[in-house]
Each structure stands twice: as C-alpha cells, then as structure tokens.
C-alpha cells in the first residue's frame, strides 16, 4: 500500500489520534479540563456501539441504558465490594454481563422491526431500571447507587499500577476509547459491516441473497450492548460513584440525541455529538439567563437537525468533502481483470432427472385458491417459461418456489431434496436465486457495493462475524463482482449510487444481484418489464448466454421473447396448470388460445 493509500484508508484513526493526544494541552486554553473530556469520551464510547447499531444496521434502540447500567453496576459492585482488585477484569466482567443482557433483550425485541423494536427496547430498559431499584436493591443499593468505587488499579501479570484521577484517568479512558474506535472501524469496514448496511437498506433482499439477517441483527445488538457496558463501567470508575440514573430512559434518550446530532452514520459522529452536547450543556449552565432552559434549547436543536440535516454534523462535513473530492478526482480506470462469473457447481444429478420439481403445489388465502395443485419440473440446463393471463397465480407460484411464502400444501424438491418451507435465505445458499419484477435494490449503496452483498453471501455462507477482514479486499468476492458487472454491462457505472441509476440500469442490476449470488438455478420474474427495445435485446442475449451451467425459470409477458428463448413453457390459468410443452406446442394449443384470446373472439363476433 502506498503512503497516500494508507492515509486515505486510516484517516479517521489518524485524525482521532491527532485530537486525543494534544487534547489535555489544548483543552487548558479553552477551560476544558480532564473531567469534561473524560465524560465526552465515555459518552462517545457508548455512542460508538449505538452508531453501529442505528447508523449502520438501521436499528433504532431506545433501550441502551439497560446495558450502560448493567455494565456499570456489575463493574461497580465488583470493585466497591472488593471482589475484584484489577479494574480491567471488573470492566471485562461488566462488559460481558451487558453483552449477555443484550443477547436476551435482542432475542426478544428483534422479533419485530421498526416501531415495535423501538418501543420494545424502551420498555425492557425501563424493566431493568425497576429491577435495579427494587428486587436487586440488596446489591445495587437502589436509589442510592454504588459509591466508594476505588481508584483504578491496573495489573498485567506482575506489573501493577494505580491510575490517579485527572490526566492519568483521561489517558486511561482515551486509550480504551481509541481501542473501541478501532474495533468499531474494523466492524464497519468488514464483510460483516457491509451486510449490516445491506440489511438497513433492504432487509428482504439481503435475506433473499443468502444472509441470515436475524443473526446479523442480534450480533450487532450484542456488540452495541457490550460498548454500553464498557462505557457504563468506565463511568463508575471515573466518578467513583455509579448513579441509578444510568438505567433511566434519559440516558438512552441522551445517547440517541447526541449520536444523531453528531451523525449516526459516521463513527466520528458519536464523539462529535457527545462533545457538542456536553460542552453546550456546560456553556448554557453557566450562562445565567438560559441556564434552566438548556435542555429545551438542545431539544429544539435536535428537532431541527432531524427535520433538516438528518445525517448530523459529521454527515454535513462528509458531504462537503465528497463534493470537493469529486471535483478534483479524475475518472476511475478499471484495474482488475475480468474473470468468469463463479457459479455453484451443479451437483451431478442423474441425467434426465429434474433439477427443480414442484409436486401438487397449492396456496390458499382465506377463501381464495391462488395456486391449485400445480406440478412443475425444470431440467438441467433448461430455460423454462411460465406464462398465463393476469391473476393466473404466476407470482404466487414463483414466490413459493423461491421460499418467500410457504405453500398450503404440496412439495418442492431441489435436486431431489425437499426444500419446502426452507426459506429464501437457505434456498439461496443452496444455489437458487430469484430476480424481482419490482426492483429490490440497495438504493443507498453504490452499484459495486450492491453486487458485493450477494457475492459475500456466496463466499462466506449465511452468517459470519469476520471483523478482521476488509469487505472490499476479498479476492474471489471482487472477481465475482467484476464478472457480474461485466455481464450486466454496468462496469462504467460501478461507483454510482443505485438510486441515481436510470430505470433500465436498475433492471440490469436486479439481474446482476441474482447472478452475483452464484446461483445455478435462476428464477426471473419479468426480467424485461419496462425496458427499452435495445435493452431488451441485450438482456435476451444475456439470458441465452447464461444457460451454460445454469437452469432458468422465467415469468414474462413478452410472448415473442418467451417463444424465442424458452425450451419449454408452462401455462397457468386461474391458479391451475393449463398446459405444458415446447413453444411450438403451446403456440398451437387450443386451450391456451382460449384462455388468452377468449375475450378477443367475443369481440370479433360483435
């Protein structure tokens, strides 16, 4: 790596280092002492976990106080009662306890998304407050909190020294913050972090391309809880007193507001937010006229930021830098050689036996039979079309094949194995992937980052906590991305954000996502819908070229394209199998003509 490259990659670490080291000297000039700096760092550390949780994974929790309090009280109890002398051990135990609490609360609250998650986390945090206050009073001393926490004692094997309050304490907290920051940066830049951003952007698609999103969410929730626990433990040691307020909703609220003010999607955001919040608090407190109104003023600032600058202060700075960088940056030149798109090696099935088979597949909704007893089979290397008038049950049938909805009855076999009700994630990991009629993309990612998401699922399986790798530096993943980019001809658009693409480009990316999963069975729902004639010609050519090593099922309304492409065609009508055969057979079929042209005949008679 060149020096320039290293700076580009590690600039946040460098900036932070350049701030933390001289802070004690510079702080003196503006009247900021070790006490305020220490509190800013503790809240910043707390916010790092929340930033990963909310800014990266999109999970807005109002219950982080539960972990701040748990870590804080466990650590404070151990130290104040003299059970543990080494501060580092006490912090570690507190952090682990908070992570364990995170595992339980996360398991319960992550069952629902959005509002339920926010309400659930808030309610459970309140429960922790009550537990601290009543049933656990004997250990936590209830409303009094735990006082008399001894000054920090650090031991590594034989070495042991005491951390005095003041600047030594600042150095201790700053060192832990720096480590916490590096870990958070590793997580954010790792394949694990890349999947988190995909989950925030489009959870359904992230799951459909083969990621077990529930486990990713739970993992980041536990990580955020651990950050909270560490910060809580530090707070107790820092002020030699652990206040019961740590468990209160106000703690979670301050964390949410600070982080959003600083910028939740940026890892420097929490520190900036904590600095702004605590400094404003100090300043407003000492300005006599507005002293009592400090929280009102901060509340108004917060509402304005959410309404107008949702990405927070760091987001604004980042936008300015990106604009400047764009102005001075030349065109990116493709440097990686294009390889061949990797596909799952098709398991050898005995010749002639179907790759994919549906037996008497049915789906009934309350009083409505959408699909009734449909048999279907796809041969190895075949392009198989499904057609039918509107309302024939094509989409429902397709969703069942892809594992997105469970059939009411019937069976689906993939190379002879039963995959009925296995779910889209598992099915994708087995090598079958679906492209959607209505684009299901990761709108806030670039084209290249988007294609990396399915490629990562193929390379890493449905879940992995691999934080020590960089998401964009895994060779076979990048080769896969390049190959997919080339196939769907989006190579020169790879750095463009998805929401800036034209409709036709988005349609191609939709197919690209399916290809990048490496699936050898493709289910494509109207791949030509809404495309211009040239784009259609390109996609039809692409689909033909894809059949080597793959089997494809296509639902399509463009009959000409379908009769030209497909080896076999299945016709559905009113949820039932109407006919099946070669394109020539279907074109001649009396039943099919009636199903489609019944209305036209009446029209002719009139």
């Amino acid at each position: 790596m060149t020096a320039g490259g290293a700076i580009r990659r590690w600039w946040p670490e460098l900036v932070l280092f350049a701030v933390l080291v001289p802070a004690p000297y510079l702080g003196g000039f503006v009247g900021i002492g070790p006490d305020l700096l220490g509190r800013i760092l503790i809240w910043g550390l707390f916010g790092l976990g929340f930033s990963l949780l909310f800014g990266y994974a999109g999970l807005l929790s109002f219950g982080q106080s539960a972990f701040f309090g748990t870590g804080g009280f466990v650590c404070a109890y151990l130290l104040a009662e003299g059970h543990v002398q080494n501060t580092l051990i006490a912090l570690l135990v507190g952090t682990v306890a908070a992570a364990a609490a995170g595992l339980v609360i996360g398991f319960l609250t992550l069952r629902r998304t959005g509002i339920y998650f926010a309400m659930g986390t808030l309610a459970f945090a309140e429960m922790f407050y009550f537990l601290e206050n009543s049933p656990l009073k004997h250990w936590t001393r209830g409303e009094n909190g735990i006082s008399g926490i001894p000054s920090a004692q650090i031991s590594f094997g034989m070495m042991s020294f005491e951390v005095a309050s003041g600047w030594q304490m600042y150095a201790f907290i700053a060192a832990l913050f720096y480590i916490g920051f590096i870990v958070a940066r590793l997580i954010a830049g790792s394949p694990f972090g890349a999947v988190l951003t995909a989950i925030r952007g489009n959870p359904q698609r992230a799951s459909a391309v083969g990621h077990a999103i529930g486990r990713y969410k739970l993992a980041i929730f536990v990580v955020a809880a651990a950050y909270g626990g560490l910060a809580g433990g530090l707070l107790g040691i820092f002020q030699s007193y652990m206040p019961p307020d740590a468990f209160k909703l106000e703690t979670s609220a301050q964390l949410v507001m600070q982080t959003v003010i600083g910028g939740a999607g940026n890892l420097l955001g929490p520190l900036v937010g904590a600095a702004v919040w605590l400094c404003l608090y100090e300043i407003l407190q000492h300005t006599f006229a507005v002293g009592p109104y400090w929280k009102l003023i901060l509340g108004i600032v917060f509402v304005l930021l959410v309404a107008l600058l949702r990405r927070g202060l760091c987001g604004v700075v980042e936008d300015v830098f990106v604009k400047l960088a764009d102005r001075y940056k030349g065109k990116r030149i493709g440097e990686t050689s294009v390889g061949k798109l990797g596909i799952f090696a098709a398991a050898r099935s005995s010749t002639g036996s179907p790759v994919l088979q549906a037996r008497a597949l049915s789906k009934a909704y309350a009083g409505f039979q959408a699909v009734a007893e449909v048999d279907f089979s796809l041969q190895e290397g075949e392009i198989h079309g499904i057609i039918g008038p509107n309302g024939a049950g094509k989409s429902t049938f397709f969703k069942m094949l892809a594992g997105e909805i469970n059939p009411s009855s019937g069976q689906i076999l993939l190379r002879g194995d039963d995959i009925t009700a296995l779910g889209a994630t598992e099915i994708c990991q087995l090598g079958m992937s679906k492209g959607y009629q209505i684009n299901q993309l990761f709108e806030s990612l670039s084209v290249r980052e988007s294609l990396r998401i399915p490629a990562l699922a193929r390379a890493r399986g449905k879940f992995r906590f691999d934080i020590f790798r960089a998401a964009h530096r895994i060779d076979d993943v990048e080769r896969q991305v390049e190959a997919a980019l080339t196939l769907v001809q989006l190579h020169d658009r790879q750095d463009v954000l998805v929401h800036e693409l034209s409709y036709g480009e988005k349609r191609r990316l939709e197919i690209g996502l399916v290809l990048a999963t490496g699936a050898n069975i493709l289910l494509l729902d109207e791949p030509l819908a809404g495309m211009s004639p040239e784009e259609r010609a390109h996609v039809i050519k692409l689909l033909r070229s894809l059949r080597t090593g793959r089997s494809i099922v296509i639902v399509e309304h463009d009959m000409d394209a379908m009769f030209g492409l497909a080896d076999r065609i299945t016709v559905l009508c009113e949820g039932r199998l109407l006919d099946e055969g070669s394109p020539a057979h279907i074109q001649k079929s009396q039943a099919v003509q009636e199903a489609y042209l019944g209305g036209a005949k009446e029209h002719e008679l009139a």
Binding site: L108, T113, I115, G120, P135, A253, P292, L298, G299
Partner: protein, 291 residues
C-alpha cells in the same frame, strides 16, 4: 391467604386502572393505525394536558372546565404540530418519525418545566368526586368509580366515531389505501390533521383525568409513554380493541401483583410483554398489516 374480598377489590381496582390505561394508549394507537406514525411525544402531550387542566382548575375551580381545557389545548397543539412538522414525515422512514416526535416530546416537557417548575403538583379531587361509595362488596373511592364511568363513556364515544360514522369510515379507508381515498375526492390531508389532533386531545384528556390520582410532574412523561407502549404491544398497535384489551390486561397484572408483592408490579408487567413478544409478536388483537 388472601380473602375473596381483597381479591375482588383488587380485581375491580385493576379494571379501573386498566380502562384509564386504555384511555391513555388510545390516542397513540389510533394515530398509528391511521397515519402510520408512532407518536413518541404521546407521554408529553399527556403531561401538557394535565398542566393545562391544572391551570384552569386553579383559576375557576371547575374540574369539567379543566377537562375541556386539557383536551382542547392539546388538540390545538396537535393540529399545530401536524401542520408544522409531522406531515413532512409521513413519507420518511419510521426511525425519522420516532426521532422527530421524541424530540417534540422533549421540547414540550422542557417548556412545561420552565413554566411550572419541576416539582410535582397535587390536584385536589373535584367536589363531586370526594369520599367513598359503598359498592355492596366493598367501599371504593368515589372519584375512581366516576373515572371508570368516564373512561367507558369516552372509549364508547370513540368507538362510535370510528365504526359508526362517515368520518370513521374515511379514517378506516385511509388506513387501507390513502391514495385511493384521495382520488375519490375526499380530502385525506384534512382527515389526517384531525386524527393527529384527536390523538393529542385523547392524551391530554387522559392527563387531566389522571392528575388527581397520579399528581403531576414533568418527569412523568417517560413513564406514561412506556406504559402506553406496554399496553399497545400487549394489545396490538393500531387496533382499538387491542388498546382496551391491553389496557385492562395491564391494569389487572399491576393490581393483582401488588396484592402479592408491590415491588414486582412493573417487572410482572414487562414479563407479560415479553411473553406476548415471544408467542404473539403482533399483539393479542394485532394484525401483521403495517410494519
């Protein structure tokens, strides 16, 4: 160990508390059901209503006037909020809606704190609510019986408004498909404005009604918000019946647990919520619908 008498009285207590909780949560659930917005300022509006009522009550001594003032005051605040802020968030992610309403709640509470101070206010019972009444099986505070009747009356009125009037029909249709209702020539924007204002008014009215029992303080907003959340999570958010069922369930849990060990009332409530989240995440009467 426990006499049947005590059990019966706690059961009744739970019902009275439960219907008050239902009243508290109703505004939250209707606003969510109609607009798809969870109002995190709900607890703050409850407190604002309580304080408006407190001022009017201190001024004229009429509790009925206080109730009206609390409801109307929060209704107007609700209308203003919807016009100035909330309507711009209908098409933004749920997380943004939560953040902005939460921020609004902080601003409202801090405004109250700067006007009235942070110390709690006790509100005396209205003259018609003092003393106890003999119910035959027990003696019960008169105001609590009246509160029970008022809660049933208001919940009944809301039910009629939602399910037996043209406006209610429009609201229900708007939940299903707002664009279609708009195309049919009905001004959905005005309906939404009215619904948000009514949700706020429901919170404010509940604030006035509860103030003689709970005593008012700015800091109670978060607890009220949490209680409302527990009620709607148990009952199923967006469902009118869910708010009532969830409220009564929560009231009975609190009341019956306090008979055994008052220290565990809240813990039991959250345990019940955890069970609902595990076994029926959409709530007792909720549907998958939105979300």
């Amino acid at each position: 160990m426990f006499s049947a008498q005590l059990f019966l009285s706690q059961l009744f207590n739970g019902l009275a508390l439960g219907l008050l909780l239902a009243l508290m949560s109703m505004g939250l659930t209707i606003v969510y059901g109609t607009l798809g917005v969870v109002n995190f300022a709900h607890g703050a509006l409850f407190v604002v209503g309580g304080y408006v009522g407190y001022s009017v009550y201190a001024l004229g001594g009429s509790f009925v006037a206080a109730m009206l003032a609390g409801a109307i005051g929060t209704f107007v605040i609700g209308l203003a909020l919807e016009r100035i802020l909330i309507r711009f968030f209908y098409n933004r992610p749920a997380e943004d809606q939560i953040l902005v309403t939460f921020g609004v709640g902080i601003v409202l509470i801090e405004t109250i704190r700067s006007l009235y101070g942070g110390i709690s206010k006790t509100i005396s019972l209205p003259s018609w609510g003092q003393g106890v009444t003999n119910l035959g099986f027990m003696l019960y505070p008169t105001y609590r019986i009246e509160l029970l009747a008022i809660s049933i009356l208001i919940l009944g009125l809301v039910w009629i408004l939602l399910y037996r009037t043209k406006l209610g029909l429009i609201v229900q249709a708007g939940v299903e498909n707002m664009m279609m209702v708009n195309v049919l020539g009905i001004n959905v924007r005005r309906v939404f404005l009215f619904v948000f204002g009514s949700g706020a008014a429901a919170a404010g009215l509940a604030g006035v009604l509860a103030s003689p029992i709970l005593s008012l303080a700015p800091d109670m907003a978060s607890h009220i918000l949490v209680l409302s959340f527990v009620v709607v999570v148990i009952g199923g958010i967006g469902s009118f019946g869910g708010a009532v069922l969830g409220g009564v369930a929560a009231g009975e849990i609190l009341s019956l647990t306090s008979m055994v060990n008052p220290a565990y009332t809240d813990a039991m409530l959250f345990a019940a919520m955890a069970l609902v989240l595990i076994f029926r995440p959409q709530g007792l009467l909720g549907t998958e619908g939105r979300n």
